[in-house]
Amino acid sequence: MSTIAPQFRFSRFVGSLFDIIFWILLLFSLIGLPIVFIILFYIKMPLVNHQLLTPYLAMTWMADPSRTLPIIKTLLHTTFFHVVAFPGFGFAALLAAATIFIERKFLAKIQLRVGPLYCGKVEGILQLMGDGLKLISKEIIIPAKADKPIFWVGPLLFLGTAAAFVSLIPVAPGWVVANPSVGLLAVFATIGFFPIITVLTAWAANNKWTFIGGLRALHQMIAFEIPLILSLLSIVILTGTLNLSQIVESQQHYWWIIFAPISAIVFFICIIAELERVPFDLPEAESEIVAGWLTEFSGMMYGLIQLGTYLKLYAFAGLFTVLFLGGWNGPSVWPPLSPDLITNGITIGPITAKIAGLPLFDQEMLNGTLWFVIKTVGVILVILLPRGVFPRIRIDMLLHTGWYKLIGLAFINIFIALGLLYAGVLGPGGLIQ
């Protein structure tokens, strides 16, 4: 007899199971099905093989791979897939997660340490999963005197803003979540939300360390936002557009880092400051103010902010690649897809079912994605590098760098760009196209 349920009877257990099944069926048929139909009424279903895709048709098509493939291809080009999986959140979160692990091993190698070693036998590759499980299972503690609504919403807003930033980065030709004609301005508008969220959450936690960290973050981000915007103006002058995809297309023959090296350096320093990384990690200076504006966050709230931080890191590295390193442009290294594969398909297994139209992505997209990822990972590694080498700098030195030196340097490259434009060398209608 168990002590947890002293009145246990097997017949009651079976009866309760039937009870649950009855209620599920009743609720599903009375509430679930009408909701499904209402949603289906408003969703615009795609046309696949000249037939409107209904859920019933999709069910019958699941049995036949040659009829399932068009459905998958249609799905790949929906906004939902773009937002959730490939150029959007899933892809960026995967890269961000890889960055967290690589950062730990990379810094360990720089400083002649070992880094994560035991979790997952081989060089600690499961460390990240362990950290994630730990964060999810930890209790979320809210300080008693905290301003609770802002404190709860803060991490979500931070992650949301970082994800909005990620959505503006074009990965391959045509593969971008949001492609507004004023993409670069949208980037500036998105970056502008980070200091607000930081200082509000820092204030809401009602702790002196968080507030000092939040004020430092505010000072730092505002000081470095201006040279960041100014350093990108030279690119806008040279390309004559604000659309990020068009900026990438304008770099087919040469990268803008050749003509705007000072801008690239200024932008890179501003990236490090906006990301609060060493040597500009004053807002989170763990040896001075506990953990800065993150002090009071625990459990998954801290995890959300970390995810947001690394999404932001990916987005800034991607923006650097897009603006200065030619984005997806690069020599065609992806092996060409054989025409036999496209028309006849591959043969699977002993029954040799021929599936036509298999390559879900074309060669151009795969090649572009490959080059984009290589360049972005390179930029991410260069952003990580100073953490293993430099000490933290003082806040007056930081503000002096931001307000005096970087703004001046950014203006120098703007004048170089203007000179090249008026000399007729570069830009719309220039000598070098």
């Binding site: 004023v182 301005l185 500036f188 508008a189």
Partner: protein
């Protein structure tokens, strides 16, 4: 669709503006002000002017609202406000607002703008730039001079002779 979005944006903008005026907590008031300013950016997006909308977001939400937040957080409340609770002032304010809205509404309706062309193309920012440098260049120059004068004025006001500290010299 646009009507629904317009209505939602209007409710959001006006509602948060009222909240910004009426709420006791200054921090929540400045957050409501941010929502108001973002709502105005949404109106610009509805009007097919993404350029202005993005500037609204980055300048007003990203900079001005942060400055307000900064001031509210760092300066004691009594130094900013000397609040006078007075019923008659409030009703006078509401009456003044209604009168102003009625007057402006009469002017706008009387001016003949009664219909809106919905299928007009998006405002091109390159055209804005060209117009600013050609036809409207005097306005641009005057604006630049005003901004430069205000920056110089701010620098002159904020300037102070620092006590030199030997330990903090770079």
């Amino acid at each position: 669709m646009v009507d629904a979005v317009f209505l939602a944006l209007s409710v959001l903008t006006i509602g948060s503006a009222i909240v910004a005026l009426e709420i006791r907590s200054l921090i929540y008031g400045s957050i409501a002000l941010m929502i108001t300013l973002s709502g105005i950016a949404g109106f610009f997006l509805l009007l097919d002017a993404p350029f202005v909308a993005m500037f609204q977001l980055s300048v007003y939400v990203g900079s001005v609202a942060v400055l307000i937040l900064f001031t509210v957080m760092l300066v004691r409340r009594e130094l900013i406000f000397n609040k006078i609770e007075d019923k008659r002032r409030r009703y006078a304010g509401i009456g003044l607002m209604l009168a102003l809205m009625l007057g402006i509404g009469m002017i706008i309706i009387g001016s003949g703008i009664k219909s809106m062309e919905t299928n007009s193309p998006t405002v091109d920012y390159q055209k804005i730039g060209k117009d600013f440098l050609t036809y409207y260049s005097p306005a641009l120059i005057v604006m630049a001079l005003i901004l430069a004068a205000s920056v110089i004025g701010a620098l002159a006001l904020a300037r102070r002779e620092d006590i030199t500290n030997d330990q903090r010299v770079n």
